[in-house]
């Protein structure tokens, strides 16, 4: 057994009196696609930011890529990629300039940068588009490119914060192809989404309600546990349970 990519033990984040994340514990193995679900305001983003070393946990501890997120943030950041729901690449730069910028930030050599650029160009069939401004490319392309740039330094874990929101179904499908490829190559994928059909693509998912993880298992087992047809049903069941506490 290799060491887990992500290991969180009773993580808590408080903002004043408000507890955004309660006792978050989970483990994600290398190469796994982990779906991190929850309604807006359930604490997903806060949890993710703690795991990325952007936010210090109030209590508990977590290790990402084997490094402590509270004390070894530098090491954590070197080993992760991050893509947010908003645009993470610069519209007024060309594709090539974006790639060069992030390659330099992650300390890739110019040779490595060249190689990665060629690789990406072939993968996307974009050889002739490298010098065009990102703003001229269609939205779906931009999201895919943002993903490529998030994994440009071949991180051990990539965090995707609602990467497919606002994208058409075909592009979403293509986007998930990329996620599968990346995971097959050994990178751990930690993804939040509010599309329940996408949850089915994950190896395991957790559903967060009011800062707490309610369920954590494979999509199939979760459906069985709740005797539901789809993840969507599970989700609404959990949401209803929250509204009428017993």
């Amino acid at each position: 057994m290799s060491t887990p990519s992500i290991q969180a033990h009773q993580l808590v984040k408080k903002f004043g009196d408000f507890t955004a994340v309660k006792d978050l514990s989970l483990e994600v193995s290398p190469g796994e696609i982990f779906g991190f679900l929850g309604a807006n305001g359930a604490g997903k983003t806060t949890a993710m930011r703690m795991l990325c070393g952007l936010l210090k946990p109030s209590f508990g501890h977590a290790r990402v890529a084997g490094f402590d997120v509270a004390t070894q943030t530098e090491h954590v950041k070197k080993n992760i990629g991050y893509m947010s729901q908003k645009f993470s690449i610069y519209d007024d730069l060309t594709l090539k300039e974006n790639i060069q910028l992030f390659s330099s930030i992650y300390g890739l050599s110019s040779l490595q940068t060249q190689e990665r650029m060629k690789q990406l160009a072939v993968q996307f069939g974009l050889e002739d588009k490298l010098k065009s401004l990102v703003s001229t490319l269609p939205l779906g392309w931009k999201q895919k490119l943002a993903f490529s740039i998030a994994v440009i330094h071949q991180p051990r874990i990539v965090f995707l914060d609602e990467p497919t929101s606002g994208v058409d179904p075909i592009t979403r499908r293509q986007f998930w192809e990329m996620i599968f490829e990346t995971a097959n190559a050994g990178t751990t994928v930690f993804v939040t989404t509010h599309y329940m059909d996408e949850a089915e693509y994950c190896d395991r998912v957790s559903i967060m309600v009011e800062g707490q993880i309610q369920v954590l298992d494979t999509p199939q087992k979760i459906r069985e546990q709740f005797s539901a047809q789809t993840m969507d049903d599970v989700f609404s069941l959990l949401a209803r349970k929250k509204e009428t506490p017993t």
């Binding site: 990325c52 070393g53 952007l54 936010l55 210090k56 530098e74 950041k77 070197k78 992760i80 991050y82 893509m83 947010s84 729901q85 908003k86 645009f87 993470s88 690449i89 610069y90 007024d92 730069l93 300039e97 060069q100 910028l101 992030f102 390659s103 330099s104 930030i105 992650y106 300390g107 110019s110 401004l133 998030a150 965090f159």
Partner: protein, 368 residues
């Protein structure tokens, strides 16, 4: 390429690809200098005047020659008496008449001093005041040149209205203010906008998830604006010296150092604004209210601080531009060295330190 170099390059690309930014950085300074220096200039050249000379002998002739040889006035009408002067005012649209009394030559240098009269078209009060000032200066100079060596008394009388501004051209007053304004806009406003833009577009979060320390991100964003501001300072000072003939009596290197310090203070202000604003709109608004208005109205740039109400004067003291303008004027016009503007230097450096400290504290708070 190091991460910092890559980041600086990226920032330059942002600037050079955005026409509006370019316009603000490079066209605005030139436009401001030209507007204040040329268009809103209160100096008037070749004003049409009439001379009424009731005396017409050697001294009065010499005085008229002196008036005509200045480039302030163009005499369009000579009269022997003030009869019909009003007609000349109306028909020839003269702005000023200089009346030399009959006893001018007779009493010149002896007897009770004769009195010259200046009559101005006060329908435009500003023009009238300026012209009277100009004429008084010329006549005053003439009186001093031609004073009899024996007498301590001037050979004739004239009341001078603009004594404090003998040869000082108003563009010299404006240049330091414009310099302060432009450096404020480019360094403080533009940097706050560019920093906030990263926050707004979500790229800040992506950047902070990279191993790049946030200090490098901020420094990388500031370097281009620091360089462009320095170029702007040279540009404005160049225009001041070569187009408007403003002197630099002090050391140009010291002058430039003070400019660099002010740019640094402005950049700190920009960082501070970006730490409190979350959208570009808010950053622009904060810059307008917090920088633009005080720099224009409270720095002594347009309105003298001494003339402000007592309660407002302390407010003027916290406007960085006030201290910068003071230092620049002293160095350029009075030839002061750095040692004589230490107070201003300490205040500007102190402001920068405090602003940076607050911004760092705020960003630390946000991270935990």
């Amino acid at each position: 390429m190091s991460a910092l170099a890559a980041f600086v390059k990226k920032e330059f690309l942002h600037i050079f690809r955005d026409k509006r930014t370019l316009l603000i950085i490079f066209c605005m300074p030139i436009a401001l200098v030209m507007i204040f220096g040329v268009v809103i200039s209160t100096e008037i050249y070749d004003a049409k005047i009439a001379i009424v000379n009731a005396s017409s002998e050697i001294h009065s002739q010499k005085l008229i020659e002196k008036i005509n040889s200045s480039n302030y006035f163009k005499t369009v009408s000579y009269l022997r008496s003030s009869l019909g002067l009003e007609e000349v005012f109306r028909a020839q649209n003269i702005k000023l008449a200089i009346l030399i009394p009959q006893n001018f030559d007779k009493d010149f240098g002896n007897g009770p001093p004769p009195t010259l009269q200046l009559i101005a078209d006060a329908s435009d009060l500003n023009v009238a005041t300026t012209l009277i000032g100009n004429a008084s200066n010329i006549i005053q100079a003439f009186a001093q040149e031609n004073a009899p060596p024996s007498g301590a008394v001037l050979p004739f009388q004239i009341t001078t209205r603009m004594y404090y501004n003998p040869e000082q051209r108003d563009v010299f007053m404006f240049i330091p203010g414009i310099l302060a304004l432009v450096l404020m806009i480019v360094s403080a406003m533009m940097t706050s906008i560019t920093l906030v833009r990263e926050k707004e577009f979500g790229t800040w979060r992506v950047l902070s998830s990279t191993p790049l320390p946030s200090v490098i991100i901020i420094v990388g964003k500031l370097i281009p604006y620091f360089l462009l501001s320095s170029i702007n300072a040279c540009l404005i000072l160049g225009l001041a010296v070569f187009v408007f003939g403003m002197p630099i009596h002090g050391n140009p290197v010291e002058l430039f150092l003070v400019c660099l310090l002010f740019i640094f203070t402005s950049l700190s202000l920009g960082i501070f604004i970006s730490s409190i604003a979350n959208t570009q709109q808010a950053a622009i608004l904060a810059s307008m209210v917090g920088l633009f208005l005080p720099t224009t109205f409270l720095s002594g740039f347009i309105f003298p601080i001494e003339n402000m109400p007592v309660w407002l004067q302390p407010v003027a003291q916290i406007v960085p531009a006030k201290w910068f303008i003071e230092a620049i004027k002293r160095i350029m016009l009075k030839g002061a060295g750095l040692g004589q503007v230490l107070t201003q230097i300490y205040v500007l450096a102190g402001m920068a330190t405090v602003l940076l400290a607050i911004s760092i504290r705020r960003s630390r708070k946000q991270a935990t």
